[in-house]
Amino acid sequence: MAALVIAEHDKTRLKGGTANAVTAAQEMAGEVHVLVAGSGSKAAADAAAKLAGVTKVLHTDAAHYDGGGPENYAALVAGLAKQYSHVVASASAFGKGFMPRVAALLDVAQVSEISAVESADTFVRPIYAGNAFATVQSSDPVKVVTVRATGFEAAKEGGSATVESTPAGPDKGQSTVLSQELTKSARPELGGARRVVSGGRGLASGENFKMLETLADKLGAAIGASRAAVDSGYVPNDCQVGQTGKIVAPELYIAVGISGAIQHLAGMKDSKVIVAINKDPEAPIFQVADYGLVGDLFQIVPELTKKI
């Protein structure tokens, strides 16, 4: 049987780890289909059809899926799910919103934010903020699974799946998106960035984050932050890296003025190379860093920016 991946998209492009979810789905089932729902989303459906490993795209062109309302999405997906062995989505804010609803409608468990696939019914997932990893086995007829994007490579282009139109489900009319305030930035999106420069309480003010931005721009990196920096109002909420924020695993993670609370480490310790810059040689961040530099970040960061 096939796995159905639910795409997150902005009508023209796939977003939010959808291509990584496709890779995870390929490890679970022999065949992968993708559902793209929303008005004017044909371009996104075509993009899904081009992903290697995808054999069919189900496309539902209906406005009541715009905005990703979980009530409507769950009803649509639960209706399709019985023809599939697995229903898979990225563990983004979108996926986390509707996937448990799908599982409840099907009266099955949901497996959250897996980091590896052991077999068609057995998955590995972090618990206790990544301080332990549980291997869980599902005996449900349909496995409803969300995928931690950093655990799987993004599927590359190279497929030529058929795009089929599929009927919309009901518009339940239970919720309406009134507005969105998205952080505008020319930098790469934090969740998928190849390089991340993060700041913590050591930056001491939002103003001082400008220094990190200069470094980030030189590296083509995204800006991240510890919970302490976010709670202090230095940067917006969506910059937070950690158990309750974004989980990142870039090629290079530079932690500046971050002590390294368990909560933060949970969100970045799968990064390939970690650099820690901190004035406290005892800071826990140095225990996970590949390269540690003890000193005054206000001198080190400008010098680093110059020398890179």
Partner: protein
């Protein structure tokens, strides 16, 4: 959207249900058991899940603003969860319900138990934490909303109760979103929704006298058998020890020539 406000519940008589979970305290560094059957829970400090504290606080604020009449805390688990419920009562909840069982409870089972309690209590709003810091599942609120066929607003950072509806600002990837949901509904809390109050000593004493009802899953007609089998629980892979560099020059050299990431 054209909403008939008379179809909504009268928020002035609304009851709020607040599910709370007893978990390993967030300051405890958990250890995996040697036999890989789970994490060590013996003699470990337990507390109310931090996201649940935020949920209790929000429910109390809504009641204090005159938008609800009663806040009912509910917990599912062993008799020890009474302690967690007493904390909620000390914060200001009016009464509590414990669905007592020694069985392992997974999110779907908890959602079914909560559905039964919410229906029995005719709750107009359920506010709960977005996730528990033990299993990190982030499922129960959404599952409960599906089982009740109610709308949901998850990861809330601001909640405004209107007449028959609520406006909720939610934390999403890349920013914030404001949704309007019809009541009754399920809301799950994110970190920045509020700062929970501390229970004062007089309130802790008063909480001991507040009603706490104990029911069993069977009384609610719910089968709580787990759907997922935990095969094993393992320590995370350790990163190999790194090196300290003496200055920026050495750091740049290592990043260029050793790690080859710049």
């Amino acid at each position: 959207m054209n909403w008939d406000s008379s179809a909504g519940r009268n928020s002035h008589k609304m009851k709020i249900l607040v599910p709370v979970k007893r978990v390993v305290d967030f300051n405890v560094k958990v250890r995996v058991k040697a036999d890989q059957s789970g994490v060590e829970l013996a003699n470990v400090k337990m507390s109310m899940n931090p996201f649940c504290e935020i949920a209790v606080e929000e429910a109390l604020k809504i009641k204090e603003a005159g938008k609800a009449t009663e806040v009912i805390a509910v917990s599912c688990g062993t008799a020890a969860c009474q302690e967690t419920l007493r904390t909620a009562l000390a914060m200001g909840a009016d009464r509590a319900v414990l669905v007592e069982t020694d069985a392992e409870l997974q999110p779907l089972a908890v959602a079914k138990l909560l559905k039964a309690v919410a229906s029995k209590e005719s709750a107009g709003l359920v506010i709960l934490g977005k996730q528990a810091i033990d299993d990190d599942a982030n499922q129960t609120g959404q599952m409960l909303a599906a089982l009740l066929d109610w709308p949901q607003a998850v990861f809330a950072s601001k909640v405004e109760i209107g007449d028959g509806s609520a406006r909720v600002m939610r934390e999403i990837d890349g920013g914030l979103e404001t949704v309007e949901i019809k009541l009754p509904a399920v809301v799950t809390t994110d970190l920045r929704l509020n700062t929970p109050r501390y229970a004062t000593l007089p309130n802790i004493m008063k909480a001991k006298k507040k009603p706490l009802e104990v029911v069993k899953p069977a009384d609610l007609g719910v089968d709580v058998a787990p759907r997922l089998k935990t095969v094993k629980v393992a320590e995370p892979g350790k990163r190999k020890a790194g090196v300290m560099v003496k200055d920026v020059g050495e750091l740049v050299d290592k990043l260029k020539n050793e790690a080859k990431v710049i």
